[in-house]
Symmetry: C2
Subunit: 215 residues, 2 copies
């Protein structure tokens, strides 16, 4: 089947949103923790996080102009610090609940049942229940003119996790960390390792560092 541009405009709005959001596949799932200047904490669920660079260590994320994530963006811009926390299978439903449109004065930490974790010298709250927690400092805000979204780029300044999750080469083990992934806006998944491959070079078949060989 081929679907082309003129068909998108004819689609029912929710159908199109679901189709386009689920089309590209699995995404990075993060609970973003912030705090307002007045000290009200906030949690939001995001699936638009992407790698921007390793040196300096930068992550990007997208904010909709009218999204339920308004408090998160406002807090990031006013305070300058925010956290990303992975989602675990045991509480993915509570994490999903944090995507509801709660009033500004309500903290999703309390409402969805998460414990706040703070570290010295960092203003924004981490999630105690997560196994991989990333602290970021706002570095850039880019307006995307085509659809009025905002790309926020932050520099990773803190990583809070169990030593055992980092391998000798720096690789973070998300199977052991029990990280959940998402497709579309509402479908959650755990994963099975296929294999880890050596750096690809021309004229050489990729070596399997570990994992199952698929024949």
């Amino acid at each position: 089947m081929i679907i082309t541009s003129n068909q998108f405009s004819e689609m029912e709005k929710h159908y199109r949103t679901t189709l386009i959001n689920s089309l590209p596949g699995y995404k990075t799932l993060q609970m973003v923790g912030t705090i307002s200047e007045d000290g009200i904490t906030n949690l939001g669920l995001f699936n638009s996080v992407f790698h921007v660079g390793a040196n300096p260590p930068l992550l990007g994320m997208v904010f909709r102009p009218d999204g339920p994530d308004h408090d998160t963006l406002k807090n990031i811009e006013s305070v300058g610090y925010y956290t990303m926390n992975n989602v675990l299978p045991e509480w993915y439903q509570q994490a999903h609940q944090a995507s509801a449109r709660y009033p500004t004065e309500i903290s999703e930490f309390d409402l969805c049942g998460f414990k706040k974790l703070y570290t010295k010298g960092f203003k924004a709250p981490f999630i105690q229940e997560s196994t991989i927690r990333i602290g970021l400092e706002l570095r850039d805000t880019i307006d995307v003119e085509i659809n009025n979204t905002t790309i926020v780029i932050g520099e990773i300044t803190h990583i809070l996790l169990d030593d055992a999750l980092i391998g000798p080469d720096g690789y973070v083990d998300h199977i052991q960390a029990k990280t959940v992934t998402v497709a579309g806006l509402d479908s959650y998944f755990t994963t099975n390792p296929l294999g880890r491959l050596a750096y690809a070079k021309p004229n050489q078949q990729p070596g399997v560092l570990n994992g199952t060989e698929i024949s």
Copy 2:
């Protein structure tokens, strides 16, 4: 364990790259197909694709200034069209191989063993072996000043897939499509459904649309 900024600069380069790339978890994995003005096709493997909007349907992706993906960016900018194609477990190793630095005059389609698929009115090649294929038209190129990367935003103009992969509400089934996900630069995974949840509303526990209940 807490890792902070000053420790990043002391890390061995490959260790830091592996750590930062694998830290945020699972990512959208796409083989990007392009063609040069001279008609030379190119395939590149990307894990920086992110959702920008559903109306118009927009996807973003990040290019490094010195990356092996130089031909892909050049082709997108000169021709204006490109494709994203999902990766399947049966040939994820060949997909990984497309990330090697091949000379411009060599097509990764031929070298890594993929069949080109064209559709009327669209210049860039899709991958026959993929189950979900997205055709995009370049809409915006954003320079990220902090680290000299480039964010490319394209509008989805074509979707090529089996009808059976799209549910009645527009949801694309990546389990049935056998889409692979990636963590870091080199670790590949299949997935298991945890559950699909209803749109979250305040004062209401999320409903499970389908999937396994986790208690």
